[in-house]
């Protein structure tokens, strides 16, 4: 079936019940969405579907036809990082970094809706995401910094407006 990922239509050959996570990682060779639990409990696999942050580990691709899927790769590149990516680099907001792509995608969905989100809203949104390294304080700082960048400069997505 066809999936629209990061602005491009991609034909994927997979069982329609396959959760999106495995299709992204295996069929489309995208690294950012991570397997953490496969149970919708940790946030490591988070991507954006039609503007909403979703756990890709529990969404089968059969419900995603015609929807806009955005992964961390869709927000920018090393050379041209999006505002959240830039902010996470500037704040050095990672230890192992395994949880970070999911955190960024949740924050992206929030800031796309409301670049003026309060600290409390940021925390509430990230409540469903786990970080085991204890990078939380830096993650919050990075999201706040990105909000500032996005208030000044637009949507926050370098590739996929």
């Amino acid at each position: 079936m066809d999936l629209k990922v990061n602005g491009r239509i991609r034909a994927v050959d997979a069982d329609p019940q396959t959760p999106l996570l495995y299709v992204l990682r295996e069929n489309l060779q995208l690294n950012a969405a991570k397997y953490g639990c496969g149970l919708g409990q940790c946030g490591a696999c988070t991507v954006i579907v039609d503007g909403q942050a979703v756990f890709s580990c529990i969404v089968p691709i059969q419900v995603l036809g015609g929807k806009e899927i955005t992964t961390l790769e869709g927000l920018g590149t090393i050379e041209h990082p999006g505002p959240l990516q830039r902010a996470f680099m500037d704040e050095q907001a990672a230890q192992c970094g395994y949880c970070i792509p999911g955190m960024i995608m949740r924050a992206q969905a929030l800031l796309q809706r409301n670049a003026h989100a309060s600290d409390a809203e940021i925390r509430t949104q990230l409540q469903s995401h786990l970080c085991r390294c204890g990078t939380h304080v830096r993650i919050l700082r990075a999201v706040r910094r990105a909000a500032g960048l996005m208030q000044r400069g637009g949507s926050g997505s370098a590739v996929n407006p």
Binding site: K34, G36, A94, C96, Y98, R132, G134
Partner: protein
């Protein structure tokens, strides 16, 4: 190197290509690789240097030739080699800074090759906050000595006295514009020389790269979707494997009907060997579905072997113990004194990495290449070699990052699983990925512990006597032996589980940090080592230090209360070490300890706590102060503010130090407040995040400040595990200050907290 691994290693890392170019004789420095003999690999992680090499700094004694650490190619490429691995602690960046500084090579011109059994020195495990002390020190000396050699060689070529030359920017510069790049200077074997024990090192005043907050070199790829982890590896023809683990520790596989699973789409093979059961499929989700079906088809015989969780401390105290008196001091003081006693406990704690363990393996007929997020490529190689009946040199073990591990998690077991499966399918790369519930059920947990302490105070409020005992299993069941891996234990011809090891002082295991740093006229400290391990255990970041510092520093506050003394002043009156005193006073000042909000005085509900330790009594010093607020209506306690100070000797990357200490504090808050491995009489039951809750964003303090005490020019002291113990005790002390109730059993937000805040 095997043919297949050569092909694939070349894909992984272009440095490898240049090495082979070197071997073909393109005029680079290295002809042969200066690795230490295999014997040292077999020491399985011990870092005791051998013979005369003992006097060499850091890990140089384990690989005494400079070219084991530093290589310069004729094309000017500079490569450094370390046996340590990036675990998300930023060590790659820090080690690159060290080499760049001493070798005078810009950061972006420097490549660093990490833990790889065919390319890097054997530095045992990346553990115990040793990386900078061991590898950083070795690389620093090797780089400085290499720089000197390059200058001498340039002097010869330029016919200029060496004292008129200087190195900068990978070039040796002389008078009248004379210059030679390192690439122009190198000659075969130039660096194939024994390291010397003494090196003139650059002074801190001349640093341009060290002691600077250089951005981590791994972060850009990690935040943009680059291939950063072993989980992200994709090799041509790679297959996906899943293991079906027994439902409990001693379960025996009685029957399994494999026929229906074999017919599922994409299934390549099912591996059954005793209690080891795994499935291999073309696609990852096919492997998962087949694993589920196979698990449903398997019949196991289980036995109840676990203690009663509700009486865990009592069960530990009843286990047979080997007692080691690790500290004793008698002064014969007998005058009257007030005495206090308390018992503290900790349950089993999970490493609970966010990414379950994963490994990729590729076997030839008689060799295997393995990519793993293990903490020890050499010890792991030995385990895999024994498991597969191969000579160690037939196993090539390469570290690739995984999710943070915080000690001995499932990494080595997943590596053994991958290697075993790969050995049944030669020529096909196998990606073995554990499931969440497997990581939770099968990782070796941080041991449950009990500590009992009794002390007496003389009338002047000075501690007179101290009597401390700690009960614990071993904190190290790492490979070496094949029997330390699950695959080795589960195959039909099972390898014996190695007997548990007591980790000796001064670093210790369960007794790590059990000896207080305070000056005490009379004291006795006993390590009650428990060889029987009802639950699988091993090293969790900081080992026994988390529990011992929690107990000692909680009890110091109980004593301060008994003496009517301020907790900070009470600590200082028992401490001589000036560096210890400095981190304490720095923390107290930055926190505003003197004017702090106080439980019971400036209104109930707010309290502050303080704690201090020097990790292992020989690494970094760390003090932590915290302010908590009891929210009676919400029935919860919130941590509002944390201030810490750390003395980690010479700092390489200040932001890296802060990141490590911040992480240590938050991780320790999670362990200390929330965590407990759950089990019934047979099975581990805390197998997902709903049953093993950890700290989430709503509980993250409003601010966490880390201050670094500057010790320019002092030796490196590891800091990755310095914060856990102090953070645990500081929060317990703050809760006691706020509520007047002392909580001594972890997790603190268990049953006890309800009583403490009266809900």
């Amino acid at each position: 190197m095997t043919a297949a691994s050569k092909r694939l290693a070349a894909r992984k890392d272009d440095v490898n290509v240049s090495r082979r170019a070197v071997l073909r004789g393109t005029g680079a420095l290295i002809i042969s690789f200066a690795l230490p003999p295999l014997a040292s690999a077999r020491q399985a992680g011990g870092l005791e240097p051998v013979g005369a090499a003992a006097r060499l700094p850091g890990s140089l004694g384990r690989a005494p030739f400079l070219d084991a650490w530093i290589r310069i190619d004729a094309d000017g490429t500079v490569t450094a080699f370390t046996g340590k691995a990036e675990l998300g602690q930023g060590v790659k960046t820090a080690l690159t800074q060290v080499v760049s500084e001493e070798l005078e090579v810009p950061l972006d011109r420097l490549k660093l090759v990490t833990a790889d059994t065919e390319r890097t020195p054997d530095e045992g495990y990346t553990a115990g906050s040793h990386s900078l002390q061991d590898s950083g020190t070795a690389l620093r000396h090797a780089a400085a000595q290499a720089r000197e050699i390059l200058i001498l060689e340039a002097a010869r070529k330029l016919r200029t006295p060496p004292d008129r030359l200087k190195a900068a920017n990978a070039t040796v510069l002389g008078p009248n514009g004379a210059r030679l790049t390192y690439g122009e200077i190198v000659a075969p074997n130039l660096l194939h020389v024994q390291a010397r024990p003494v090196t003139p090192l650059k002074g801190p005043a001349r640093f341009t790269v060290m002691d600077r907050a250089i951005p981590r070199i791994d972060i850009p790829a990690k935040v943009t979707g680059g291939a950063a982890y072993v989980q992200d590896m994709r090799l041509p023809g790679m297959l996906h494997a899943r293991v079906v683990r027994p439902p409990s520790y001693r379960a025996q596989l009685t029957t399994v009907d494999m026929t229906s699973v074999e017919r599922m789409p994409g299934i390549v093979t099912i591996v059954r060997d005793g209690n080891f059961l795994a499935v291999v499929a073309e696609r990852e989700f096919q492997a998962i579905q087949a694993m589920r079906s196979l698990a449903a088809a398997a019949r196991w015989q289980e036995r109840p072997t676990l203690p009663k969780q509700s009486e865990l401390s009592a069960a530990l105290l009843k286990l047979p113990a080997e007692d080691f008196t690790i500290f004793e001091k008698r002064a014969g003081v007998t005058a009257p004194a007030t005495s206090l006693a308390a018992t503290y406990s900790r349950p089993y704690l999970a490493h609970a990495s966010i990414g379950p363990s994963c490994a990729v393996a590729l076997a030839d007929k008689d060799s295997v290449t393995l990519w793993s997020h293990t903490q020890g490529v050499y010890p792991d190689r030995q385990a895999i070699a024994e498991l597969l009946g191969l000579a160690p040199e037939k196993v090539h073990c390469i570290h690739v990052e995984g999710s943070g591990c915080y000690g001995h998690n499932g990494a080595d077991d997943a590596a053994a699983d991958a290697a075993l499966v790969a050995s049944r399918l030669p020529g096909r790369p196998i990606r073995m990925q554990w499931m969440r519930e497997q990581e939770f059920a099968w990782e070796p947990f941080g041991p449950a512990m009990v500590a009992r302490v009794r002390a007496s105070l003389d009338p002047s409020g000075q501690i007179r006597d101290w009597d401390y005992g700690v009960w614990s299993n071993t904190h190290a069941t790492r490979p070496g032996p094949a029997g330390s891996t699950l695959a080795g234990q589960h195959v039909e011809h099972a390898f014996p589980i190695p007997p548990p090891r007591v980790l000796p002082q001064p670093e210790g295991g369960g007794d790590r940090n059990a000896i207080p740093l305070y000056s005490l006229p009379q004291a006795k400290v006993v390590h009650h080592f428990l060889p029987t391990m009802p639950v699988r255990v091993s090293a969790l970041r900081s080992l026994g230090a988390h529990m011992n510092v929690f107990a000692i520093e909680s009890f110091m506050d109980e004593l301060a209360l008994g003496a009517g003394a301020d907790p900070v002043e009470f600590r200082l009156r028992h401490l001589q070490d000036p560096r210890a005193r400095d981190v304490i006073t720095t923390t107290a000042e930055r926190f505003g300890w003197a004017g702090r909000r106080h439980g019971g005085r400036k209104g109930p509900g707010t309290g502050c706590g303080f704690a201090f330790a020097r990790y292992k009594n020989l690494a970094a010093y760390c003090a932590v102060a915290m302010q908590v607020a009891v929210q009676y209506e919400a029935g919860r306690i919130r941590i509002e503010r944390v201030v810490a100070a750390v003395d980690t000797g010479q700092v390489v990357n200040p932001d890296g130090v802060r990141n490590q200490i911040e992480g240590a504090i938050l991780q320790s808050l999670s362990w200390t407040l929330y965590e407990k491995v759950g089990f019934d009489d047979t099975r581990i039951t805390s197998v997902d995040w709903s049953k093993y809750p950890i700290l989430r964003f709503d509980a993250v303090p409003d601010s966490v400040e880390v201050h670094i005490v500057d010790r320019a020019g002092e030796p490196f002291l590891g800091c990755g595990e310095a914060g856990q113990g102090p953070a645990a005790a500081a929060v317990a002390n703050a809760i006691a200050d706020a509520t007047g109730k002392r909580l001594r059993d972890l997790p603190l937000f268990g049953a006890g907290v309800k009583a403490a805040i009266g809900i």
